[in-house]
Amino acid sequence: MTGRARTVTILLAFAWLAALVLAPFLVVAKISLAEVVIGRPPFTALLEWGEGAMPPALRVNWGNYALLFGDALYLEAYLGSLRLAAIATAVALAIAVPLAHAMTRAPARWRPALLVLAILPFWTSSLIRVYAWIGILGADGPLNRILQWLGIIDAPLAILNTDIGIVSGLVYSYLPFALLPVYASLVRIDPALGEAAADLGCRPLKSFFRITLPLALPGILAAGLLVFIPAVGEFVVPDLMGGSDTLMIGKTLWTEFFTNRDWPLASAATVLLVLLLVSPVVVLERRLFLRGEGRA
């Protein structure tokens, strides 16, 4: 692509991104430095246009950030989100890797059907899936009833409204996100490599750890990020499945914004969350997302 067509395409695409991706983040950064007031909008302006006075006065308020770092509630919410998201990511990968491996091992004529089956939940509403999962885990839900019927437990397990409930909800919501990239990276591995390992005397389990897993590592890392990042900011799962004492940043933000209507504080919390999430992505970005694009 050359000349005018190229310039126009770049400018159009960039205008879109600037308006709907870049601008919102700049606005959030700006409002995070404002003060909360009662009114519409519920925050002060960054630039104060005095009575005809030029230039306008700049009013920067670092108080929101001071509050975030000073308030144990926020720190706990950040740490709690990171902890629960990390556990959920580990569990999701522990399920996704063997499952995807089994998919690549299935007879070739089943594989398209298995793939559609793995993608299908991804296309159904996450809210509905969380709702269905609540039904399964409830005190009188099928899981508790089966465990009681088998005599494994006497009284229903309280899973909902606990951390275990949240982790299971996160895992269930984001499992398809983990499954697809792992499968895609496993299926790309030449089966002859496994055969070559066997030919040289390597048993199947060992060959999985020595050959398959290292080659699939980029895909597994990508899958981990795809689960971890949305899980950190997740709102629906902690809101519907967590207890009242569960602190996750997504829920805290939501409350701050809709209930307390403290938009500047919510903005500051958002800025911190973005910084927290973007840093690992920037480190891994080249490896995960931009592979092969450089040779344009």
């Binding site: 490599l193 055969e195 070559a196 030919d199 040289l200 005397g201």
Partner: protein, 358 residues
């Protein structure tokens, strides 16, 4: 002494029969070539021996032992893959050491063995490279080194030289021969290149649609092909189709419409008159001029192609049948070759042709 023995081995995939009742005996220490057109089942046969496929029928014995129940990682056989299958995340040394580590050899021993095979395939100095940092020819030699490192009783090579250019391929063929001689291993080598098979192998099997068409030393197979398929696949053959007209004194006369007369050929067996048969003659066995020959034809030269060591010549008989001749270029002046359009006599000896009935 038979080292690897296949008895009526068969394998099909769904409806496709890839290997159809193959029986072969491979001797200890020989280089044995499997030769055949694409899709005839060569790779499948190797994979059956390596253990990646289970035969539907038949037995595979290695050194007297039935290896059917052994999984690939327990078979004392190593394979060099058609695609090389080098582990992309390991260095050259890591790839070569992989098999040795599976045997839990001490680290010092592994290092020594890796260095030894690297020297053998002349890749010293490249041990720290990853496969993607190597040229095609170097990768191919790493694959070979990896298959040799465990000193297996039997090495299977699936089209080992297919990815190389002609010159490198010829050099590597002689290297392979040298390596084989030094290590005194047994090689089974798959190829669809008949010259490669003849250069490397002491014996070869020509395969056709899952079956063995002929087994023998390259020279035997070339000079005494057992069927029209083998005669046509190994080298070029001029065929005179016809029926047996008579037989005396070890000479069979085949009445051939293509030749426009009876063709004489030496043949040991007895054939009744009227049997359908075919006389096959190699291009280099045809001569210009039929003085002293058992068979002679008048022909017109149509095309002449200079090939370096020989000149290929296409001539048409009065019957319309075309023959291919290969005439050695003995003199630099090139006086041996006829010109296009020249009327010539073409002859060959009855001893230089073969009679084919299948």
């Amino acid at each position: 002494m038979t080292f690897l023995s296949l008895r009526n081995v068969a394998k099909s995939f769904g409806g496709v029969t890839a290997v159809d009742g193959v029986s072969l005996d491979i001797e200890r220490g020989e280089i044995f070539a499997l030769l055949g057109p694409s899709g005839c089942g060569k790779t499948t046969l190797l994979r059956l021996v390596a253990g990646f496929e289970q035969p539907d029928a038949g037995a595979i014995r290695l050194d007297g032992q039935d290896i059917a129940p052994l999984p690939p990682y327990r078979r004392p056989v190593n394979m060099m893959f058609q695609s090389y299958a080098l582990f992309p995340h390991m260095t050259v040394a890591g790839n070569i050491a992989f098999g040795l580590k599976q045997d839990r050899l001490p680290a010092g021993e592994i290092g020594a063995r890796v260095a030894e095979v690297l020297k053998l395939v002349r890749l010293e100095g490249l041990e720290a490279r990853k496969p993607h940092q190597l040229s095609g020819g170097q990768r191919q030699r790493v694959a070979l080194a990896r298959a040799l490192a465990k000193r297996p009783k039997l090495v299977l090579l699936d089209e080992p030289l297919a990815a190389l250019d002609r010159k490198l391929r010829e050099e590597t063929q002689f290297e392979l021969l040298a390596i084989h001689r030094r290590l005194s291993l047994t090689f089974v080598i798959v190829t669809h290149d008949q010259e490669e098979a003849m250069t490397l192998a002491q014996r070869m099997a020509v395969m056709d649609r899952g079956r063995v068409a002929q087994v023998g030393a390259p020279r035997d197979v070339y000079e005494h092909p057992a069927s029209r398929f083998v005669a046509g696949f190994i080298g070029t053959a001029n065929l005179f189709e016809g029926t047996v007209a008579g037989q005396d004194n070890g000479l069979v006369r085949v009445q051939s419409p293509a030749a426009g007369c009876a063709v004489a050929v030496r043949h040991a067996g007895t054939l009744s008159a009227g049997t359908a048969a075919c006389v096959a003659v190699r291009p280099e066995k045809l001569r210009l001029g039929d003085a002293g020959c058992d068979n002679g034809f008048a022909a017109t030269v149509e095309e002449v192609a200079f090939r370096g060591e020989a000149t290929l010549c296409r001539a048409r008989l009065a019957t319309g049948h075309a023959l291919t001749l290969s005439l050695p270029n003995r003199a630099r002046a090139g006086g041996d070759a006829p010109r296009a359009g020249a009327a010539v006599r073409i002859g060959f000896a009855a001893d230089d042709a073969v009679l084919l009935t299948s």
